[in-house]
Structures are given as structure tokens and as C-alpha cells.
Symmetry: D3
Subunit: 183 residues, 6 copies
């Protein structure tokens, strides 16, 4: 077991261990945020240092909401549609970097920074994204902050986000859909 997966004896590996099919199939974007991340799952070998996903966006305005990857930089290429994408740099400047992307355009989201992709076109949008780890991790900010399995103390959230405590309570009682359940 390495990184939580069983390592095969290399002599027993087969081409199937390096193969995955299905990235031609659109992900189901019928959820709160209107997007879905479909990961490539390659069994048996897990020291590749890289991974790949397909991301589908519902037409105006499917959103891959603000999130980070604790262990990876991401490089994304748009295959279809029009995406408004961005990330915010770390303290103290918190600079916003954004771009509107069309098919064939590529954007890089540096390791650990908060980023998003937003379908501002009136058709479905599709992108492929590669990540610099076989186990990048995903922290969807709103889900981690307001939708954790047990509630964070509302006083902490009210103070951190300058929100009325009633609003915090409302947010914590909501359902937070998960468009990216890599683990």
C-alpha cells in the first residue's frame, strides 16, 4: 500500500492498469453548481505523479466553485464553450488573476491557490485538466467552511467572514452538493 492504494507486483501489471475509458461521456451537471468533475481512475499503480479529469459545465452559468488542490498545480485546456476562470494569490496581496477562455485556450492554476471556472457561454462547456500529483486532493471552500460533517463553531465563521450569525446558521443547514468527489 502506497498513498492508500495497493501496489501491484510490476510483473503482474497489464495494459488495463494504465488504461481508463469514459472521458468522452459528459458528466451529469444537474446539481446546485451546474458542473461535474470526472476523474481518471487508473488501478494498480499510483506513483505516477500526475492525474487527469474532465470537467463539464451546464450552459450559462455552470460553475466549478472556488476550491484548492492541497498537493497539485492544475493545467486546464478548454475543449468546448466559454469559461471565465480565475485564481487569487496568497497573502498579503490576494491579487485576482482572471481570463476568459475559448476552445484551445489553456490556463494554469498554481498549487494550493483558490480558483474557479465559470461557464459564461450559452452552450455546454467542456475542459480537460491535468494535475501535478496522482493524489491532488480537493477542498471545495464553501463545502469545507459551511458544509463540514460537524458544524464549525458559528462564532468562528461569523467573525472570520463578517457574517451575521443567523446567516451562518442558515448556510450551515443547507445542502452543499459535491461536484468533485476525488479523494
Amino acid at each position: 500500500f502506497i498513498n492508500g492504494k495497493l501496489c501491484k507486483d510490476p510483473k503482474l501489471a497489464t495494459p488495463e492498469d494504465f488504461f481508463f475509458s469514459g472521458l468522452n461521456i459528459p458528466g451529469n451537471t444537474s446539481n446546485q453548481v451546474g458542473s461535474m468533475v470526472t476523474p481518471v481512475i487508473v488501478s494498480g499503480l499510483n506513483t505516477f505523479g500526475i492525474s487527469l479529469v474532465r470537467i463539464d459545465f451546464a450552459p450559462y452559468v455552470g460553475l466549478n466553485p472556488l476550491h484548492t488542490h492541497p498537493r497539485a498545480t492544475e493545467i486546464l485546456v478548454v475543449v468546448q464553450g466559454t469559461l471565465y476562470v480565475g485564481f487569487v494569490t496568497s497573502n498579503p496581496d490576494n491579487r485576482l488573476f482572471t481570463k476568459v477562455l475559448y476552445p484551445g485556450d489553456v490556463f494554469v492554476f498554481p498549487l494550493g491557490l483558490i480558483h474557479f471556472q465559470f461557464n459564461i457561454g450559452h452552450t455546454n462547456a467542456v475542459a480537460f485538466a491535468a494535475l501535478s500529483s496522482q493524489n491532488p486532493g480537493v477542498v471545495t471552500i464553501a463545502n469545507a467552511v459551511f458544509g463540514s460533517d460537524a458544524d464549525i463553531n458559528p462564532d468562528v465563521l461569523a467573525k472570520a467572514f463578517q457574517l451575521d450569525k443567523n446567516i451562518v446558521n442558515q448556510l450551515q443547514s443547507r445542502f452543499w452538493s459535491d461536484n468533485d468527489n476525488r479523494n
Copy 2:
């Protein structure tokens, strides 16, 4: 220049390049969140793979608000006071791990996960925290989301955080104090 700093010729290094003073001086917690992070700045050499800060918390209820370190795990020891601390695991579970810490207690915040420390005692609280990088980076979540230098499209934030767009606009117009300006 490595990691943005000038590397000295080792033959010209002096003890001062390995020395820093001032972690006995309380940080100024007179700000919105009631906490201050004081980093150790060691000139000249920057490939140590480690760094150290002092964190001060105002009495009930100084908060080091939700943030991540893109490039470091953090280990914290409480020197004075009572801290309620926690982090949230990555998708899909978003499990909340919390603990109340007293002097001499230690807690670890894994790389890239959202975490916070909250003074639930009625005295000042003080902690030292070490990080597994000389350049860990800090992303204060609320500041990056609602206080970036240019505003993130409010439609993105309203959808991601299930907030009324008026509230997003209000949050974006607020001042977000920076209690941790490491860069």
C-alpha cells in the same frame, strides 16, 4: 536568488544570518479578528525547509481565521491561554477535526487544509507554530474570497456560497484586516 531571496556566499555568512529576535514581544491584536501572526525572518539563507511564527490572540474571542498554507504542514504548541482549534479534511468527506488546547498542548494542521485557532479563554493566548517550509504561503479564506484586490464576479460567489448577491456585494465592500502578512 532562490525562492525570491538572495543567496549569500556561504563563506560570507555570519551568525546573524541564522538569528532572529523578538518572539518575546506580543503581536498587536487590535484588529478585526483579534489576532496577530509574527513570523521569524532569517536573512540570507532560505533553503531551510522550515519556518516559525508566534501567534497572539486577544482575550475572548481572538481568532486566527480560516486559512490554508499551500506549501506546509503546521505544528502548533500553546504557551498561554485556551485555544479551540480545528481543520476540515478535503473532499468528499469534509470532516471537522477539533480540539481544545491548553498550555503545553500540541496540534498538527496537515498541508493545504483549511484551519483556524480561536481564543475561548478570558486571557491573552500565545502559541508558537512551526511550518514545514521556509516559504509556506498563507491564504486567508475570507480575504481571498471577498477581499481580493479586484472583486471576483459576484455571480460566482453568490452561487458558490449560496449567498444573496446583495450580501456578496456588502462583503466585497468591507475592509478585511490582514493578521498574517507572510509572503
Copy 3:
């Protein structure tokens, strides 16, 4: 300068430093092998640990010929067409792993192993490939062996490849087109 490129002061970075356009444009496959690799070139920042290319293949039988990446594992997704792909494991077994890929299929080529992609369909084929380094390197086997800038001693090649020396001389006098000039 890191890895041979100038590192920008992060404060001067702009969204353009994270952006590249043109992966929607087919590469020119009018060469000996009938394929072309189009790399993403992202200026200014070069510590991403990842890179991306588009690969175009002429109809039956465009070939991305046998090559290695000295510093990267590759993950490839087929966007259009039908590719017969493969790699050979290292000594002592030299096992051949192959697969026929259709759109949406993904295959992984482990670090440093000899691999190829071959268009066995009667239309153009297109793939995206991500690599686990910003500077993966490419060694096209035939070009390095028979087309180096100065000729390798023909006795070495005749013995290593069990080839008649006349054939070695012929091969060394040929033109070896370069379908992948990343450096």
C-alpha cells in the same frame, strides 16, 4: 533563472503568464512520420511541475515515433480518431503493453520508458497529453541513435542493433524529421 528560464518577480506576474492559446489549431503533420506535437508555452513561471501538449496524427498511418521523456510520466486522452499505443518495460523483461484507444480513452506512459502512438484510423487523430514536469525532455529514439548532430561510431550502432554497417551508414545519411521539438 531556474531551469533555464527567467523567474519573474511574482508581484509583476499577470494573467498572461498563466495563459496560452492555440491548442484548437491542428499541428502540421506533413512530415516523415505524419504527426506533430504542439506544446503549451507559459512564459514567466516555470516551477509548475506539469506541462501539456496537443498531438495531431495524419490519417492512416500518422505515427508519434518511439521516444522517451527523461523526466516525466505522461497521461494521454484521445479527443478524435483511433490510436494504437504502447510502451515497453525496462530490462530484463522488456514487456510490451499496448492498447487501441478511441475518443475518451486514457493511457499512461510511465517515466522514462520507450513509447509510441500510431493512428490506425482513416481520419485525423487528436490527443492531449499531460506530463509530470514543466521540462520533461524528449528523446526521439531513431533521431538520437541515427540522426545525432555528429554520427555515432557506426561500429557501435552495427553491433548494438545487429545491423549491417552499410545499413547503418544509410540510416545515418538520412534526414530525420523532428515532430516534437520541446526542449
Copy 4:
């Protein structure tokens, strides 16, 4: 098992796996050198890349004797007392870097170099030290040289240290107390 410890299934982790208590309790310095290192032991997870210790020093003249950490740089902050600290650079210069530290002062001991801390004050001294590995290792020089489990050939030691062989024999017959039994 990674680095000699069992890795928990992350789904079974609890806050206790990130928690340690007791760094408020002075270590027992009643030994030959007059100091004690108390490590933080965090069960279950061992890929943190960082560790933390408390070091206690008896009043004038508790010593954390010359030692190295084969796999870590150390950053130390004085909490109480007055420490004379130092390290020696590698060949060929063997430069001595020293500093007298008071509460709030910080010093860095680079990876693998011989270093020490010496209480030159007339009260107990206390420091926290963080190390850039979860498994830094400790080689106490005198213990490894003169107190190894089987004796090093005395001719080797006499020649290496320019010592009379009788003195080597005496040193090898002594008890060498262990103030730092991290492993």
C-alpha cells in the same frame, strides 16, 4: 507502514491522531549533561515533514551536548533562560557560529551540522525546537563515538581524536547518558 509506523486509513483518523499534550511539563534534567529533550509523539500519521520538541536545561550549566540531525534542519526559540548556542560548518573551513540567546530569540541549525545549546544562566532554561522532518534522527557525537553498543576499535579513536589510548579506553568504559532518545 511508512517510515516504520503504521499508516491509518484516513477515514479512521481522529483528532487525537493530531494531538499531543505535556510540553508544559519540564523534562527531568538530573543526568550527566543536565538537559532533557521531550519529543512530541503524534500517533497514526507520519508523513508530516515536521516535528517539535521541548528542551529543558538545568541551571548553570545544563548542556544539550554536540549532536547532529541526519535528516533535518532545526529552528529553536528560547522561552526561558539564557542559552549559548552554536554550530560548526562542514569541511574544509569548520567555522564556528555562536550566539547568546535570551527569551524570544531564535536560532537555526542547518541540516546535518554539529551543534549544541548550553545554559549559561543561573535559572532553568526552556526552549522549543522544530525540525524539518517527522523523523529527523539524532546522533549524539560523544555517545556514538565513545558509547556505541560495541566499542569502536580504540586505535581508530586514538588516531582520529589524537588521544592517548588509555584515555580512549577510559572514555569507552564510562556511562554516557542519553538526553534525547528520539528514534
Copy 5:
């Protein structure tokens, strides 16, 4: 198990786990290429990050044929004889770097590049080579290309190497001796 080997409990390690004998014994060069690589095999511990081999070459003209190490740079010292050595840089330049080496001469072969050593003297030649990984891997180019366990599609090889398909078929039917069976 790490990297396919059982990791001993360090407390059970013995000097034998760090010891290997036999590099004084010439390897058997009675094979097609006239060379033999004898690796050091050190049981029990496999995280050393380094390995060592002896290479024997038959008199005029023993050849260690073109190969790569996917995970290591190699540094070679000639102990006896005269070797013509070389490597070819990666695309797009494919520059040939060569040198004639005599006893006491040293040459470095960078990670992942195709290289060879050729005995141009009329005596046996002997070299030691160290590699920057405990598990460098070896890809003997001709064996991987023409001698894989299942044949690569001959159309692929004919096109990649500008060879007549009959010649490809002949090469694939030959025996390819293995002078380096590290795995």
C-alpha cells in the same frame, strides 16, 4: 515493502545488510555484445538513493550497447582498458558528446539520456559505475525496440526507423542478449 523490497525493522539490521562481495570477479562477456554489468545487491535496505555496478568489456570490441536509465544519472570511472564512451542529448539538438577514457578517467551520463561504452582497446576493460538511485532501471534500446516480449507492430518500427519491413522482421526474429539484467 518499499520499491518492491521488504524493509527490515532497523533493529534487526546487521552489517551484512550493508555489505556485498564479488566486484573483484570479472563478469562473463561471452555474449553478443561482449560486455557484462554486475550489480551490487544489498539486501534489506532499499532507500539508499544510490547504487553501484562493475562493467566488464571483452577486448576489441566489447560494447555496453545504447541504453538509458529512467531514474538515474551515472558516473563511471575506468579501472582498466580504453573506452570510447558517449551520450546523445534530448530533442531538438540530439548532440553527441563523446570521449576516449583511460584508467582513472571519469565520465558522467545525465539522467535518461541514451549512452554507450565501447572497448576500443585490445585488452579487457573494466569500469565501476555509480547511479543516483537504488533502482535506476535499464532500458537497452535495441532490446526494447526489436526484442520486446511481444513484437511491436512492424509498421510502427519500419516508419520510426526508416527501415525496410523485411529488415524489421529479421531484427525481431533475432536473439537479443541481455548484458544488464538489473530490475
Copy 6:
């Protein structure tokens, strides 16, 4: 400049940058310890992750005295003579691992541990040693402890080594020859 050396533009590199001669020449062992380490110095490129030395030992009893390499594991092969070699494990066990080596024998000295080689034969002895870093560093224990450029406080040394202060003073006033001046 990387690791203190100028990095050449790869396009300007020549075979000389990968070449070193002279390891056939015995090092001068006319010094206090009766041994000499001759390093390979390869100009221009310094990211190889490996280095190589020749070590010469005067007949009975040349000694490569107790030392550590802060950044490398070492693998040594005996070419001539008979060496008694050993290392001591880290705390708390400080186990001594030794072996008598004859020509063709190999021994591994793990990263950061104190080790030595001792010529117990009546002829010159010669070994090659490879290290898992291009910049391994050398800390000769006696030289760093008793021969640093400025003296370590004798009270520190007397206490750490259980030596009479007069003996410490004598040792500090001696000349400590340097048989290994890699830096």
C-alpha cells in the same frame, strides 16, 4: 548559480563538462591520519545528484577518520588492500556496524551517520566511493569538534565528552589535518 556553481547554458556544454581525469593517481597520504580523499570535480553542471571520490590509505594504519556526510549516503568498493570499516547508528541505540573488506567488497554508509575506514593491511589500500549528492558535504568529527576556526567553549567540550578541561585545551591547540577538503 545553483548550489554555489555557475550553470552553463546547455547549448554551450561540451564533453569536457562531463569529464574528469586523474583518479588513477594515488592521493598523498603523508599526513596525520594517513589517508587522502580525491574528489571528482566536473565543471559546469551541478545537478547530477551524485559524486565520486578515490580514497587512498597508507599501509598499516592509514585512517579515514570518523566523519559524516550531511547530504548523502555513500557506497564504497575496495580496489586494493584490506579495510576495517564501520558506522554507528543514531540514538538511542548507537549500534556499531563493522566489516573487514577485501578487494571487490562493497559497503554502504547511510546518510548522516558517523563512519570510518581503517587500513589494517600492510600495503596501500585504495577504494572508490560514490555519494548520493553532487554536494554531499563532509564533517570530520574531530576537526569540527576540536579544530573549529574559533574554539568551542572548553566547558562545553569537557562536559559533552567527559574530558578533563586540560585535555580539551590541548586538543584545541593541536593541528588537525584535513584529508578531505570537499566543500
